[in-house]
């Protein structure tokens, strides 16, 4: 059941992937339906929370503070988690994280693991590494199970299988669980997953998870979930391995006050998600006997080093920006070529890749600002997008056609004389392309309307516009020409 992972290093440019996905009517309907439902629920619950903006501001400050003092809080977390009987491991990159986890699973004596949905383990492509080492991983979140059994890829941070509808899910379950008579009601499908997984929960002795927050002062872990599969994995096995990005640490218990209010309302449009689990280390007689946390860098320190991109790491993975994004809502998540899709993916992925890959992602946005508006920790995603675009331009150098054109236009803007010349030149250049709609005949009761020229085809970089849109031709007189004449009259 090995799948080709979403890998920013090999993914096609956003435009190309998006173009292909835009042709998938079923996917677009599924994505639209799911994001509509979550957005509507979210909007209602945010409106009832009168201190929402104060919660956001507090959460922003907590997350920014934690990043500013990340070395202190990771050290504190490690000390307290270790004191509570856990073991901390550090991983520079995906390969090191894979090696550590494979080693720990083998050490636990198990050739199988049960897994809680975790974007971080998707990011490091852990399942493929486990499989290569002869270890089978069972995804236990319903959506992740659908993805795994369907040999698919996650397309959303919170609802990874939102691009599939019930008929498609039924087909996957019928085939892979060998259930020819499976019904197509969502409850039938959830019930099939319950029966399929219950046996795994009771039998498999090693579990792998991510985490929503690490709490420095208690050495604590916080995991929020909906289905109870998380609690099964956290409490029934003998060994638990949590792979966690270094940015997930928060200083104190009290920091959860705003965070656990903002997260569920933003993520699933619930006042509180069905389950929150909070604990630290190992507790005799309750839960796993061995507890490991793997702290993952994998490009995060690179993001941290950029003072303008750093706020990206404040993210608490609620996916509100994905649901609100008009681009994501058209394409779904796979177009982003990374497990982190949508606006947050468009800023996180290129930065995690040291700007060497995914250079089209910062442009996968109309900068409409819907993402910033809904972000519970106030990440100014449009600002970061613009910042990354500047980096891409710097990396690409001067001699691209786009760069040359932009420089020429910029030069025109620096002088009134050149600007007027450019306006005249533009009118001349476009003239062969303009189709006149001037009325050749006089039609009873119809007067000639003012604008009469349209462009239906443009060359080169501008051709994308006229694929689906006409462009109004330039009027014969600019505003400043009119103003000058008016002054003289």
């Amino acid at each position: 059941m090995s799948r080709i992972p979403l890998d920013p290093r090999t993914a096609p440019p956003f435009q190309a992937a998006a173009k292909a996905l835009l042709g998938d009517a079923q996917l677009r309907k599924n994505v639209r339906h799911a994001t509509d439902v979550i957005q509507n629920k979210r909007r209602k619950l945010v409106e009832e929370k009168q201190d929402w903006q104060l919660l956001r501001e507090s959460a922003r400050q907590i997350r920014a503070h934690a990043l500013q003092h990340l070395d202190v809080y990771l050290d504190e977390f490690e000390r307290n988690f270790t004191r509570a009987g856990g073991t901390v491991h550090w991983a520079r990159d995906a390969a090191e994280a894979q090696r550590i986890v494979v080693g720990l699973v083998k050490e636990s004596g198990s050739s199988e693991v049960i897994k809680i949905k975790s974007m971080t383990t998707e990011e490091v492509q852990l399942n493929n590494a486990l499989e290569a080492a002869g270890i089978h991983a069972y995804e236990t979140d319903l959506a992740e199970l659908i993805i795994q059994l369907g040999e698919d890829q996650p397309s959303h941070i919170v609802v990874p299988a939102l691009h599939k509808n019930r008929a498609q899910i039924r087909e996957i379950f019928r085939r892979t669980m060998n259930l020819p008579d499976l019904g197509d009601k969502p409850a039938d499908l959830a019930d099939a997953a319950r029966r399929f997984l219950r046996e795994k929960f009771l039998r498999v002795k090693t579990a792998v998870s991510g985490a929503n927050f690490l709490i420095a002062e208690t050495g604590g872990i916080c995991i929020v979930e909906s289905e109870g599969n998380g609690r099964m994995c956290l409490t029934l096995p003998d060994t638990l391995i949590s792979v966690v990005g270094i940015e997930k640490v928060i200083p104190r218990w009290q920091d959860l006050e705003p965070l656990i209010q903002l997260l569920p309302r933003s993520a699933t449009g619930e006042r509180m998600n069905p389950y929150n689990s909070l604990w630290s280390g190992v507790h005799p007689g309750d839960g796993p006997r061995a507890m490991h946390v793997v702290l993952l860098d994998n490009g995060r320190t690179n993001v941290l080093a950029d003072s303008e991109g750093r706020e990206t790491l404040q993210c608490i993975r609620c996916a509100a920006c994905q649901n609100a994004c008009p681009v994501y809502r058209q394409t779904g998540g796979h177009a982003y070529g990374s497990v982190y899709a949508g606006p947050i993916g468009a800023i996180l992925t290129p930065q995690l890749m040291h700007m060497e890959h995914s250079q089209t992602l910062p442009y996968a946005s109309s900068l409409c600002g819907a993402c910033y508006e809904v972000c519970p920790v106030k990440i100014n995603i449009p600002e970061v997008l613009i910042h990354l675009r500047n980096k891409v331009v710097e990396q690409n150098g001067w001699y691209t056609p786009e760069s040359l054109a932009m420089k020429a236009v910029a030069a025109a803007f620096r002088s009134e004389r050149r600007f007027r010349a450019a306006q005249r030149l533009g009118r001349i250049a476009e003239s062969p392309l303009v189709k006149s709609e001037k009325q050749k005949f006089s039609i009873v009761g119809q007067k000639q309307t003012g604008n009469t020229g349209w462009i239906g085809w443009l060359p080169g970089l501008l051709g994308g516009w006229t694929d689906t849109r006409d462009l109004q031709a330039m009027p014969e007189e600019t505003f400043r020409d009119w103003w000058e004449k008016r002054g003289k009259a």
Partner: protein
């Protein structure tokens, strides 16, 4: 050879400048916390809100006087046809009426799976979110006992119900190292076409008995 730990910490420090626990503590004190932190409703309204929220999540709510819990429990269990109930150590024996009650003695996962029902008390209730807070404590047991059985009957003294999440977090501050589980209604998923389906892996049926204060 430097360890990975040292290398990552070095990267972090060179990325944003080194920090010290003292610097962190002093900056931490400046974080604004202007959000609502205390109750805004009268006691009676809080309990009504709590009950409303629990109903939203398809949990049933019952009431009992301090001395009548056992009787109410017996009624609920007989209504559901439950004959055998798992209980953690430390649950008041006068509550245990109307069925056979088996105390958890560290059963294996498979043994836990043999129980269809569990009865516990809880540390707190949170009205605004309809949340119940469980901790590894007498009367509540280890985390697995309230997870594996399909039916959870939870007895909560009404005096432990607070209005807001923030109040709850502050009350939990002194026990923040103990394993703590918040549950809000029965386990649920919306992974299939965003349709909320009750009960995936955790208990699918939850009843709450609120004790006193009414």
């Amino acid at each position: 050879m430097t360890t990975t730990r040292e290398e990552i910490l070095k990267r972090i420090r060179s990325a944003k400048g080194a920090s010290s626990p003292e610097q962190a503590a002093s900056a931490y004190a400046g974080i604004e916390r202007g959000y609502q932190s205390s109750a805004s409703l009268a006691r009676k309204e809080i309990l009504h809100l709590f009950e409303d929220r629990l109903h939203d999540y398809d949990a049933n709510v019952y009431h009992a006087g301090a001395s009548g819990v056992g009787e109410v429990v017996a009624g609920i269990l007989s209504g559901r046809g439950v004959h055998r109930v798992l209980v953690p150590d430390g649950l008041p024996s006068e509550w245990q009426q109307g069925a056979e009650f088996v105390v958890d003695r560290g059963f294996s996962s498979a043994e836990l799976d043999g129980f269809a029902s569990v009865m516990t008390t809880a540390t707190l209730g949170i009205a605004e979110t309809g949340t119940i807070v469980l901790q590894t404590a007498p009367g509540q047991g280890r985390r697995a006992v309230t997870l594996v059985p399909d039916y959870h009957l939870c007895i909560l003294p009404a005096g432990r119900v607070v209005e807001t999440v923030v109040e709850a977090m502050r009350l939990l501050e002194s026990t923040k190292n103990i394993p703590t589980t918040f549950f809000s209604g029965p386990s649920a998923t919306a992974d299939i076409e965003m349709t909320r389906i009750k009960g995936v892996h955790g208990p699918r049926f939850v009843d709450i008995v609120l004790v006193g204060e009414e």
